[in-house]
């Protein structure tokens, strides 16, 4: 079922915020590929530009932010039958945020679920009204039909008594139920791509597990791609097919989910992995041994700074003086489908170059 057709491709995306204190390069040259029907996990510390990347993809960057450059190619579905899909390529960065064309994609072909289920719905309108609104906007159906579809989608996210929940107000639902309702709202128009921006961060662990299960199930049912944003590598392990690791507005490593855990290349990825507790650590502590969890040394630099060289170099344990603080690392394909931005793998780049030169 999962094909390798590209659904969206982000190239050298730059989104900056112009503040009185200076320019925040929230997204500073991001490359990403989202494939149809698959899950791309985006992981990184808070503030590294995950949300702004996602919002750029929907042309929803809040002011004073602006997409400064780069391309977002989205393969828009024009016509869909049971057996085939016709699509055309569209550059989202060229569309005006409030244009009809952009709005016909938003909520219809690409939709988004946010972190705070409590704040995602207007408290004074019923859950049903807010779901029906999206349905009536994108599909030419009557109010009764929209209501039927809203109830149907609410039951598909496993909300009990969907026909009652449709008439409740958001504040009458618990956090987990509300996030289900928000997911239902996002899925109401059968999107090709669902962007989930830390959708379980605000929930307790049990509820989180249920929501993750649900999303995996819905992905199969709806055959949609998911861009799953999180700072939690555990969630990545459960959800993602592909993983992109972000640091200070850039993707520093991207590969499939197995490789990220088996063979992390970038020192930042390695540090991230070391900072999650392993079973060994727990056993060691239980045995009375002192073993402290490793944390990444240093702090994320302030967002206004533009660092020369690799942006991770002040915190990097394998920092090479004169190289890492001078030269911006390029993308290097170390293995097929495993890329990294790090000088440590420069020899691979040279290797790849000679290989390329050698082939006629």
């Amino acid at each position: 079922m999962s094909t390798d057709t590209v659904l969206a491709e982000i190239k050298n995306l730059r989104t900056y915020f112009y503040l009185a204190e200076g320019v925040v390069r929230a997204v500073d040259g991001v490359d990403l590929v989202i494939k149809s029907g698959r899950t791309l996990g985006v992981v990184g510390e808070s503030g590294c530009g995950k949300s702004i990347t996602a919002l750029s993809l929907m042309q929803l960057v809040p002011s004073p932010g602006r997409i400064e450059g780069g391309e977002i190619t989205y393969y828009r579905t024009i016509h869909k039958t049971a057996s085939s899909t016709t699509a055309d390529a569209i550059n989202i960065t060229r569309l005006k945020p409030d244009s009809r064309e952009m709005r016909s994609i938003r909520g219809n072909q690409i939709s988004m679920v946010f972190q705070e289920p409590m704040a995602a719905m207007l408290p004074v309108r019923t859950v049903g009204a807010q779901i029906m609104e999206a349905i009536m906007l994108h599909q030419q159906v009557s109010k009764e039909e929209a209501r039927k579809r809203a109830i149907e989608i609410l039951s598909r996210v496993k909300l009990p008594n969907a026909d009652r929940i449709v008439d409740t107000y958001p504040f009458q639902l618990s956090g987990g139920m509300r996030q289900r309702a928000v997911i239902a709202m996002a899925l109401s128009c059968n999107p090709n791509l669902l962007i989930a921006d830390e959708p379980t961060t605000a929930l307790d662990v049990t509820t989180e597990a249920q929501i993750l299960d649900l999303m995996r199930e819905l992905q199969r049912e709806f055959d949609m791609a998911i861009m799953y944003i999180t700072h939690n590598l555990g969630v990545i392990a459960e959800m993602a097919d592909e993983v992109a690791v972000m640091y200070m507005g850039k993707v520093v490593e991207q590969t499939d989910v197995t490789s990220i855990f088996r063979k992390p290349l970038h020192p930042y990825t390695q540090a991230l992995l070391r900072s999650i507790p392993q079973l060994d650590d727990v056993m060691a502590r239980a045995a009375g041994q002192k073993k402290r969890l490793e944390t990444i040394k240093g702090m994320v630099p302030d967002p206004y700074s533009v660092l020369k060289g690799c942006s991770f170099h002040p915190r990097c344990p394998q920092y090479i003086e004169g190289v890492c603080n001078q030269i911006t690392p390029e993308v290097i394909e170390v293995d097929p489908n495993h890329i990294v931005r790090c000088h440590l793998y420069a020899s691979h780049a040279a290797q790849a170059q000679t290989n390329k030169d050698a082939t006629p």
Partner: protein, 333 residues
């Protein structure tokens, strides 16, 4: 919902009783009682009032009884007969004086508020959406001036300009020739032609404040996540603004309805006096100055009563607009 309204009304009853006691005490406070004053007045104007007549007057008004009995007499007449007593300055029953003026007062206050809302709410929303734009700065500047200039002063300026530049005699509710005539189509049109000025003047007084409130509330709401979610659905920016943050930002305006009715009697007083309107406010105000006891008591009591009613009204409006209040939800958005 009905239960909610009923509950609010029941809770207002003790409030109203307390207000009536206070009103009664206040009107008894000034030295000398109203009957002695009235006898004095009659004697001054050359009318012979002998001791017997004076005693009769005192008994008629219950001045020989203790205060609590006088209170019960007063409040019983009001509740059972809608009789607020007699106005010495207007020389008719208080009820009559107030009723004559009630219709205009209500119409002017209501339309003035509608004027305020239709002007201020869209502007407030607009400047919040365009925060820090030139328009925002200009509107902010004007609203600050608007807040600083008293409405009656503005009324005087407009009356002056209308008279000197356009030869329009602003003020009053009727032209001289219609004043004493019975109701007719012509008199009605004449009323309308006089009404727009106080409506705009009184309305303008509230515009600046309402713009400020609306702007501040909108700025708060615009930051919330549901706004981004609404955009992410594919709604146009206009639909997003109107259907989402504005729905919540309007709440303080709805609670402001609470002041609509008491405002009838006191809020526009200065402007009403300046414009010489035959509304209830100025009549009641003059009664306070002239120790017209029953008139003054009615003034305080009615203002209190209207405040209580308006509080219920705005609570009900809020409950209609915001289900969190209806269902007793507590947490904020």
């Amino acid at each position: 919902m009905l239960g909610y309204i009923f509950q609010r009304i029941v809770r207002a009853v003790p409030q109203l009783l307390l207000i009536s006691v206070l009103a009664f005490i206040i009107i008894q406070l000034p030295p000398g009682d109203i009957v002695t004053l009235q006898i004095q007045r009659l004697r001054n104007s050359g009318v012979e009032v002998d001791e017997v007549q004076a005693q009769a007057l005192i008994r008629q008004y219950g001045m020989d009884k203790p205060m609590y009995q006088r209170y019960f007499l007063w409040i019983t007449n009001i509740i059972t007969k809608f009789d607020f007593g007699y106005s010495f300055t207007f020389e008719k029953p208080v009820t009559e004086v107030i009723m004559e003026r009630m219709g205009y007062t209500f119409a002017i206050a209501l339309f003035a508020h509608i004027f305020t809302w239709t002007v201020a709410i869209p502007i407030g929303v607009y400047v919040a959406v365009k925060q820090y734009s030139i328009t925002d700065y200009i509107v902010t500047f004007i609203t600050f001036i608007g807040l600083a200039v008293p409405a009656f002063f503005l009324a005087m300026i407009i009356m002056y300009v209308a008279l000197t530049k356009f030869d329009i005699r602003a003020g009053g509710l009727f032209s001289q020739e219609y004043l004493v005539l019975p109701w007719s189509w012509g008199k009605f049109l004449d009323l309308l032609s006089h009404l727009w000025l106080p409506i705009i003047l009184l309305g303008t007084g509230g515009v600046a404040g309402t713009i400020r409130t609306m702007r501040a509330m909108m700025l708060d709401e615009l930051r919330k996540q549901y706004v981004t979610v609404a955009r992410a659905k594919g709604l146009s920016e206009f639909q997003v603004i109107v259907r989402y943050p504005s729905r919540l930002a309007i709440n303080p305006i709805l609670s402001g309805v609470m002041w609509l009715l008491p405002w009838l009697f006191s809020g526009g007083l200065m402007v009403e006096i300046v414009l010489n309107l035959q509304t209830a406010g100025p009549a009641l105000y003059s009664s306070l100055r002239n120790q017209d006891m029953y008139m003054a008591g009615a003034y305080i009591l009615i203002t209190g009563f209207l405040t209580a009613i308006s509080a219920i009204l705005s609570d009900v409006l809020l409950a209609v607009s915001d289900p969190r209040i209806r269902f007793g939800g507590v947490e904020g958005a």
